[in-house]
Amino acid sequence: MMWHVLIVVGMVVCAIQAIRVQRLLISALWLAGCSALVALLVYLLGAPEIAVIELSVGAGLVTVLFVFAINIAGEESLVVQKFIPAPLAWLLVALSVFLLGWLTLPGLSAAAGSLAQPDFTRVLWVDRQMDMMLQTVLIFSGTLGMIGLLSDSKKPHPPKEKSA
């Protein structure tokens, strides 16, 4: 329980720092730390597969992508002038989060799950087959989108004639 509290505190601190710092590279590093702590927390909650995935994807892949993008895009120093006044933003955020918590609280003491739960493979590939298919489509389209965005070639369009 102690560990949980410590990890949670660390996670929140990392997240806040990620938003606050000015330099983008440092921000990405704080995000990586946050991811690692989330992975640890998730493992302690009894979801080891997701912990591994979160660690490798969130703390690994996404961080590398961030570093790559920041290096290409370059750092930029901007005037820190917010469009929305900070008090308003804080008020809305606090209000929404408080209400969400209020709504969720009764759910925490709900009855624990039913019988023996099916193992992860079965849940993923049999019960949620449609999900898996959609995720595959999503991954393909995301990759194609990225390739399309990052390519610089311009294909000449065939001349369009008005038809008879």
């Binding site: 917010k82 469009f83 929305i84 308003l88 933003a89 809305l92 955020v93 209000l95 929404s96 209400l99 969400l100 209020w102 709504l103 049999v126 019960d127 949620r128 087959q129 449609m130 999900d131 065939p158 369009k160 004639e161 008005k162 038809s163 008879a164």
Partner: protein, 588 residues
């Protein structure tokens, strides 16, 4: 076997669509060949399915628990429409080889046509209402994309948008019906619903029934949604033949027929269907009489004939309406394709500039006249038998429910049909060559498409008996098809009934009115007012324009909230979230 055929028919045509997009636009001959091969393969599958039809012929694809299985049932109604879709589809694709010779972006065209054919087959064969909605929307999408195929032409784009908006409004009704069904029945299966319509409580069933009627009216361009079909004539003519005459517009009639056993008991539903059909039939026939664009006349004619089919469904004549659907698909596709040959040859759609083209295009003239005679309902051709069956069903309904005036008006509609058809034939193929146009006769691919359709127009009525057998395989139609032993009895009834003579007399009167048009000039003069109203489509265009401009004005006014700034958008999002949460917590 039927399960394999279902998967094969849809799969081969969708595979063809994907291959066509991959092949690219640099090799048009390969594209033409691939499209024709794919469409013919699907047609073979569609025709083969006719022999395996039965209520037990199902295909079920399990996709996890949430949506239920994706089921397909190859019963008589479904395979009949699937066969029509694939066969007419392949003839339209063959016709396109000549019509679209030298056009650009053929890949997009053929891929969309093939995609459409597959979606249409799926729509009529599926027994999951959610899947039917998905296929419904796919056909609407393909229809829009094909109407706007010439996307440099603003009229084509406007026509496509109009078609999309109006048919989508109907689609919303269908989705609402599907969700209501799921709420009470806990699955989307249509067959289960038809076996037990009582699963929907008595307050909910009328909503679903009238919602389906609205969806069908929007899709089949019936009153009051008929304005999109004439503007959809900007599409290339093979598309008009396939989508807007023989297939997609039949989806609405299919919906009504499929659900007729469940909705027939809803009070006022049958009368509403009869009224919608009758008003569409008569109104469109009058508008066809004053139109000068060849394809518009055919479009109005389609609306009118669909009105006959819808009228027959409401009157309880299931067999009559489906038989008329079969005849109409064949002769209307024939008319559209031959009109396409004419338009391709002379380069204009305006009939006032045509005339005496019969001498230059003898084959096209002959097939067009055959199709036109079927449309009028002249004996021996397939249109005669089916139209008489429709009118008989209307007469029986009128006598039972005290709505004989509806039957009378449909009879008048038949006369007006004869009149405008005679006018069209004369203005295009006979008389004097007003515009001094030169045309060549149809090319080889066009002939290959036109001749089977003409033969079909002469002969499909012979299929009355097998057709009856096919429809009898649908379990929910038990008792609705009349107590006859064979289809020949129905045809014999048509020959013997006195109502047939009455109808023939009215049709003859219509043709005679055209012959004596010089003598009837006085009558024409007095009807000038209604004629101008008909040209302005009885005010429906004005209604459409007002709705569109009001919506656009409202949207422009709301534009001030669109700053394009991420922070601002998120502010709106979070504020909305807070409001929703407050509502949930405080229970307002």
């Amino acid at each position: 076997m039927a399960a394999f055929l279902i998967a094969y028919t849809i799969g081969v045509v969708w595979l063809g669509a994907v291959l066509l997009m991959v092949v690219g636009d640099q090799r048009p001959r390969l594209q033409h060949a691939l499209a024709v091969a794919s469409a013919l393969a699907a047609a073979a599958g569609g025709v083969a399915m006719l022999f395996y039809a039965g209520a037990g012929a199902t295909l079920a694809l399990p996709v996890g628990g949430v949506f239920g299985d994706f089921t397909f049932v190859a019963d008589g109604l479904g395979v009949f429409l699937a066969a029509v879709a694939t066969v007419v589809g392949s003839l339209a694709v063959i016709f396109s080889v000549d019509y679209m010779q030298g056009e650009h972006q053929l890949g997009r065209y053929y891929a969309l046509v093939l995609f459409f054919i597959g979606a249409m087959v799926g729509l009529v064969l599926t027994s999951s209402l959610l899947l039917m909605f998905v296929f419904w929307e796919i056909t609407a999408l393909c229809s829009y994309a094909l109407i706007s195929f010439y996307n440099d032409d603003p009229k084509a784009v406007a026509g496509g948008m109009k078609a999309l908006i109006i048919t989508q409004l109907g689609g919303i009704g269908l989705l609402a019906g599907a969700l209501l069904l799921y709420t009470y029945q806990h699955n989307y299966d249509i067959q289960v619903f038809l076996a037990n319509p009582g699963v929907l409580p008595a307050q909910v069933l009328p909503w679903v029934a009238f919602g389906c009627l609205a969806a069908a009216a929007a899709k089949s361009a019936q009153f009051p949604f008929q304005t999109w079909l004439p503007d959809a004539m900007e599409a290339p003519t093979p598309i008009s033949a396939l989508i807007h005459a023989a297939t997609m517009v039949n989806a609405g009639v299919y919906l009504l027929v499929r659900f007729y056993p469940a909705f027939a008991e809803v009070p006022g539903w049958r009368e509403a269907v009869v009224l919608v059909g009758m008003i569409s039939a008569l109104m469109a026939a009058v508008m066809a009489l004053v139109a000068n664009d060849l394809k518009r006349v055919l479009a109005y004619s389609t609306v009118s004939q669909l009105g006959y089919m819808v009228f027959a469904v409401g009157a309880g004549g299931i067999y009559a309406s489906q038989f008329h659907l079969l005849s109409h698909a064949v002769f209307k596709a024939l008319l559209f394709l031959s009109a396409g040959a004419v338009i391709h040859a002379v380069g204009t759609r305006d009939m006032r500039q045509m005339g005496a083209l019969g001498k230059q295009m003898p084959l096209v003239r002959s097939v067009f006249v055959i199709g036109a005679l079927a449309l009028m309902g002249i004996p021996i051709l397939n249109g005669f038998w089916s139209k008489e069956l429709v009118l008989e069903a209307g007469l029986a309904f009128g006598e039972e429910h005290g709505m004989l005036w509806a039957y009378g008006l449909m009879l008048v509609g038949a006369g007006v049909t004869a009149l405008y058809t005679a006018r069209t034939i004369w203005m295009v193929f006979f008389g004097s060559n007003r515009g001094h146009l030169h045309g060549h006769d149809a090319g080889p691919a066009m002939r290959v498409a036109l001749i089977p359709l003409a033969l079909g127009t002469l002969t499909t009525w012979l299929l009355a008996d097998p057709f009856l057998r096919l429809l009898e395989t649908v379990p929910s139609f038990h008792g609705l098809l009349g107590e006859v032993e064979s289809g020949w009895e129905l045809l014999l009834e048509v020959v013997k009934a006195p109502a047939t003579l009455l109808a023939l007399a009215v049709i003859g009167l219509g043709v005679a009115a055209w012959q004596w048009r010089e003598k009837l000039r006085g009558l024409e003069f007095t009807l000038r007012g209604p004629a101008r109203a008909a040209e302005a489509s009885f005010g429906f265009e004005a209604i459409n324009r007002t709705i569109v401009s009001r919506v656009q004005a409202g949207a422009e006014a709301l534009r001030a909230t669109q700053t394009g700034l991420l922070n601002w958008n998120l502010l709106g999002l979070v504020t909305g979230l807070v409001i929703v949460l407050l509502y949930l917590v405080l229970g307002w």
